[in-house]
Amino acid sequence: MFLINCPYCGERDQSEFSAGGEAHIVRPKQPTELSDDQWAEYLFMRKNIKGVQFERWNHAHGCRKWFNMVRDTSNDKIHAVYKIGEKPPIN
């Protein structure tokens, strides 16, 4: 069980959180302008990185805030968490 540092509430047990997948996939502002391929890219295609990945988490059973996490998927080490809209502290 991870120990996740919610950027708002502090360190909490993983069971209070829910994972939201890859981060920084912005919903297209003008979907109708997109080709089927471009739309599929947004809907389904994922980097699914082995290594340092940027992802979304939600403190579902706490403050209910979504935030971003930098985590190494090859060893589950969490490098950083940051609020939605903030720049990633690492890149």
């Binding site: 109708t32 739309w39 579902a60 979504w66």
Partner: protein, 1001 residues
Amino acid sequence: MSKDLRIINNRFIDQTTRISFKFDGKTLYGFKGDTLASALLANNIHLVGRSFKYHRPRGIMACGSEEPNAIVQVGNDASMTEPNTRATEIELYEGLEASSQNCWPSVNFDIGAINNFFSPLIPAAFYYKTFMWPSNFWKLYEYFIRKSAGLGKSPTEPDKDIYDHRYLHCDVLVVGGGISGIIAAKIAAKNNLNTLLIDDKNILGGTTLFQENECFKINNSYSNEWLKKEIETLKSLENLTIKTRTSLAAYHSYNYLLARENITDHLDINEKKDKIRQRLWKIRAKKVIIATGSMERPLIFNNNDRPGIMLSSSIKKYIDYYGVKCGQKISLFTNNDSAYETAISLDNSGVNVNSVVDIRDKTNSSIVKQAEKLGIKIHWKSTIVNTNGYKKINSIEIMKLSDDGAAVVGKKIKEQCDCLGISGGWTPRVHLFTQSGGKLNFRDEDNVFLPGKSELDQISIGSCNGDFELDEIIKNSVNSTNKFLKVNNNDYENLEIISSKEIHKKNIWLLPSDKPLGKTKPFLDFQNDSTANDVKLALREGYKSIEHVKRYTTTGMATDQGKLSNMHALGIIAETAGVKMGQLGTTTFRPPYTPLTFGTIVGRNVGEFFDITRKTPMHEWHIKNKAVFENVGQWKRAWYYPVDNENMHEAVQRESKAARDSAGILDASTLGKIDIQGSDASEFLNRVYTNAWSKLEIGKCRYGLMLNEDGMVYDDGVTTRLSENHYLMTTTTGGAANVLSKLEDYLQTEWPELDVYLTSVTDHYGTVSVCGPNSKKILSKVIPDLDLSDKEFPHMSFKNALIDNIKCRVMRISFTGEHSYEINIQSSYAKSVWEKCYEAGKEFNITPYGTETMHLLRAEKGFIIVGQDTDGTMTPVDLQMDWIISKKKYDFVGKRSLYRSDTIREDRKQLVGLLTDDPKEVLEEGAQIVTEKNKQPIEMLGHVTSSYFSPNLNKSIALAIVKNGKKMKGKKLFVPMENKTINVTITDTVFLDKENKRLNA
């Protein structure tokens, strides 16, 4: 018990309290403090089980969790019996009943032993090479294989015991209460760190506790006496919690650890009742100190598995701790110094030690000198080439080793004995360290894997970190702990430590015999019966990687998880393959460290607490009125209300009729309700629903459909505009939580610019839904001062009202097609309002109806239920609900997906109505629909999603999704059942009151 095997030794067991127990039906006696194993040995019982494959006689070999052989069935009560329990870990208690496993009719005479005779035919993995003919016979072969496999027996009745969980957060967790763990815990606690020390034994101290030997002294007293004082001071420290009988089961990432505390297993049978049997501690530690010690290795030689062959250190513990002699004429076999400690202990206790067989050329460490002084005979540079005795060892055959150790030379000496202690050196218990993801390093001089790099805040100290000598153990434990905790404890400075030093080391993984290897049985994994030959066979056949060898030979996969066998297996693999063990690496140790009872892992999440039960404010009323309940998610919803002996069908027919003919009342409290406020509320709704909301007047309600971004229907419900910037959204019962978090997600991450706030009010309101032609009359009685005229209060609108000056919201909306009202009031008053409506409705025969009737009524009107009539592959267009997709809106969630090449296809599966040719015939929900009779396989056009007998139309009706159904109205199709085919016709989805007259009736 046979007296001559007990010596007076009251230090750790209470030889004044006799305890009676049963083994294989025979009543025996032991003392308080004994384990089952020590008590059996005291009764001169070594043979306790049969091996897995060859059913060879096997005896007690060790004294702890590494025991491979002495695994027994405890208890014979169908609900309380426990299979595969280690006799070495069972503390003896009054009333204990245990029996040997995997043997029939008895451990002394076991039919299965015939396998041993056939053993040449059944080498490792033989089963992959045979049982293939005739091809359909595997089922039969398997039946017999399954019968002969397996060890103990599963209980056949539910467990009566209770298990529990506890979360615990500490600064420092110390695992292992041996000398290093005690030192570490003391240092941590004395520095005001909130510390937890756990040990799986019933008392602290580890092996030093009974180490009373001239060669191991601290400040001039025996190491055990020094340690006892340490333990005393430990008990007085306040930041320290000590838990004995608590074993670390799993070490997960982020220093999350699971420990099992045994609370009642050692208690007398009649003291166990109504107590927690085992508690699982879920520990979150800032820092972890592993001090789990090490295990003695066996030696691998021909017939090294006979009862009476034991680990040398275990023989020492049985005599020094339990006061039990494992034999009268004991021989020892070793490649290192520790066997001499055993020899000395035995000698001190007056047990005759035949000799020590030592594979080393000669050594003169102080401990060996002491043994020689005592006149103990030593066979240097020798090995045991064979052992004799079927159910108990009776002699060993000794030969000299060649200089390279690869062969034996000279003549064979036979030596009588009734017990053989073997010592192949020591293996650090690095299991927890590797579980936590740490990497191991290999130390060549004594062939051990040691903790290396770790991502976590942890260290290993003591012999689990490769320190095997008293002075090193203390010195390094202190230094590492100080460094690790960044403290400077000086309690242990200038201790005067005497410790015998091992000078010569020699290791031979597979000891030679005078017979060719093929003719010998040098066992590696005693429980799974895999020998060195099996490992070599695997390598010969190309199963090279450790994991392949392990899986092919099953070495290390028994209930001891290879604690004793892994190192030798690796050694022999490395030797045979000619690689260094360091490069070979090791197999991964997986949790749990020792097998963990399911009940302990589950704790009290059983029965009533298996899952949460959610109840509506009217729940008690439903119970009083005999409602049958349906599980909807975690909710209990009234399903139907049988009167007298009605079955479900009868009840539902009655309820449905009453609702249309006069009045019905439904508990709709479970629907999700979300309070939406903010200046952008309307814009928000425009984005999350498919239809337009900006123009919805204040006080009006509107049905909305919500899609996933993939364009598929996700949820639906009625949303009401309470004021300019204030809406109340309702969702499906099952969807409530997901919809709210999905909406929050969009607000927080995609549209932070929107000024909108969401608050769940699902539980705040109870919802009473009154429907039917008389609903208006009933409501006017309940809320007299509310103008219910169609003009003032038309369909799809809402009013604020007061019932006995409790605020409530009344919506005039309908899921049944009837004239109906929903009263939303604070939950605390909902039951009361429900009763009020029920009273007021009595004169109109108001009838409470449940979810089944609700489903039937809405089906008559062709209203969908998301999740029943949709399955995540249906678009609004597929549902023939094109009308609800706003053409004007530029975008909404899921819109783009509706225009993909597949989603715009004309011939997708679409929602239609179905009528059976025989109006009495009710279709089965889930039944498939085809174009032709009696053909198979055949393309399926779709399936029946909802189906009922409508009492109001007096015929069977159904909703279905059918390929290209839109264009097929009037078409005849077939529903093939197992035994018959039903003729159906595709119709419109609305079966009743197409003109919606009843809404205003």
